[in-house]
């Protein structure tokens, strides 16, 4: 096995181009587990932790937050929790403090597990993934087109994830997750919601209840069409229930060690109603103020 440790982003892209089988490693919270258990023996590890700029985030000229692929969950919570509340809530549910000190959104995207906690808020917030290769330069991939299958993403073999671009929250955002305890839990299923009041719509996404994380499109369209976006009224219970049903219908869960398909479908409806209730109460409070 080779251990490649580029000091700059350009060197990292060159190394990935020279050996597309090299496995990028950031916090190690997925890659090292596979190596420790001998599930995977990549020909080379491409360590990205020596590239300082991957750990930076910035507000771009067009008002988006560009979050480097190496920013750990712990810093998303402390430094970006006010502007990216949905992603920060999801980050708080990742592993333990030790895992959150190391694990990154970039790594979550690279692993592309359907259960990854960062994915639903990225989808609900219309995130765009910045990928790059030495040969073809930068490519912007919307999160909606990034997840292709179980642990499969849209990256080409010579590409690396540079950053994630997200608009700072313009309305309430929530994330909720079902697991057997509060810490150290891989989601049985999860749900993220982001209200975009200026556009009179919301983003809704389901995690760990289909081969990939996915947008609950029908639920989103229903909300845009049926909700009173003036924020003047409470949500009709029938609208809330229908929103939950549509969210659950977006899922195509399986029975596995963490839960049954039927349980997951039921729980998605509950999480959808719950997060929508929280978000709508916040929204009405703001609209009334």
């Amino acid at each position: 096995m080779d251990f490649l440790r580029p000091a700059t982003w350009a060197e990292a892209l060159a190394a990935k181009a020279a050996d597309p089988t090299a496995v990028p490693i950031q916090g190690g919270t997925d890659v090292m587990v596979e190596i420790n258990f001998d599930v995977r023996r990549p020909p080379a590890l491409l360590d990205l932790t020596a590239i300082g700029e991957l750990g930076d985030w910035e507000l771009t000229a067009d008002g988006l937050l560009r979050v480097g692929a190496g920013v750990p969950y712990a810093r998303i919570i402390t430094e970006l929790g006010d502007r990216l509340p949905g992603l920060a809530q999801a980050s708080r549910t990742v592993g333990s403090p030790q895992i959150r000190n190391r694990g990154t959104v970039g790594g979550n995207l690279g692993a592309a597990s359907p259960a990854g906690d960062a994915h639903p808020p990225l989808l609900a917030c219309d995130a765009v993934i910045e990928a790059e290769s030495a040969a073809r330069g930068t490519r912007m991939i919307p999160a909606t087109g990034f997840y292709l299958g179980v642990k499969r993403n849209a990256l080409e073999p010579d590409e690396l994830i540079r950053a994630v671009h997200l608009r700072p929250a313009t309305g309430p955002q929530y994330f909720s997750k079902v697991g057997t305890r509060n810490a150290m839990v891989i989601a049985v299923c999860s749900f993220a919601l982001a209200l975009h009041p200026g556009e009179r719509r919301l983003g809704a996404a389901v995690g760990s209840a289909a081969p990939t994380p996915l947008r609950a499109r029908a639920a989103e369209e229903f909300a845009a069409r049926e909700f009173d976006w003036s924020g003047a009224t409470a949500l009709d219970p029938a609208l809330l229930a229908r929103f939950g049903e549509l969210a659950a219908e977006a899922a195509s869960p399986i029975d596995d060690v963490r839960g049954t398909a039927a349980y997951r479908r039921h729980a998605i409806a509950v999480l959808a109603r719950r997060t929508l209730t929280w978000a709508w109460n916040d929204y009405r409070g703001k609209a009334a103020a």
Binding site: M1, F3, R5, G28, M32, N36, D47, S96, Q98, I99
Partner: protein
């Protein structure tokens, strides 16, 4: 490959490291520092918690090469020579050590909490220790120990302020 790192304040060079090896293996098997424990090897149990550049991490999930040029502090680096660190004393006094296997990881994690937060609430203690498993299930005594160490630290600080 060769890995150069600082462990408990000392510069160390380790040769013959396998590229897929963890920092935990380097510490335990190549450097003779068995404090950090090898249990789950998947970041679930916290027994291998060490500081990496000042942040507590699971050493089993750090590739050895990623620690090159970094600072590592293990449980062996908490005591001041022969004198236990106050968090270690509190664990002994409160009966927070049963079989002892989880203790080193808990000590490092609790040390970090008290250094960062000073006098943490119970909720903060539980959150900070959520990634450290004790299969003797001696959690109540562990919580007692962290509270005791935090209270003593607070009292010592107040005392210092009074004298100044």
């Amino acid at each position: 490959m060769r890995v150069h790192l600082t462990v408990n304040g000392r510069d160390e060079t380790v040769d013959g490291v396998w590229e897929g090896e963890s920092l935990l293996y380097v510490l335990r098997e190549r450097m003779g520092l068995p404090g950090a424990k090898n249990a789950c090897e998947q970041g679930e149990c916290g027994s291998c918690t060490v500081y990496l550049d000042g942040l507590p991490v699971c050493a089993c999930l750090v590739a050895a090469g990623q620690a090159d040029g970094r600072r590592v502090r293990t449980v062996e680096g908490l005591a001041d020579g022969g004198r236990l660190h106050p968090i270690q004393e509190a664990f002994v006094e409160c009966g927070a050590v049963q079989c002892g296997f989880c203790t080193p990881g808990l000590l490092v994690q609790a040390h970090d909490l008290i250094e960062r937060v000073g006098e943490p609430s119970d909720a903060e203690i539980r959150e900070a220790l959520a990634g450290n498993l004790c299969r003797c299930t001696g959690y109540e005594k562990i919580l007692d120990a962290v509270r005791l160490a935090a209270a003593r630290r607070g009292a010592a600080r107040t005392g210092t302020e009074d004298r100044s």
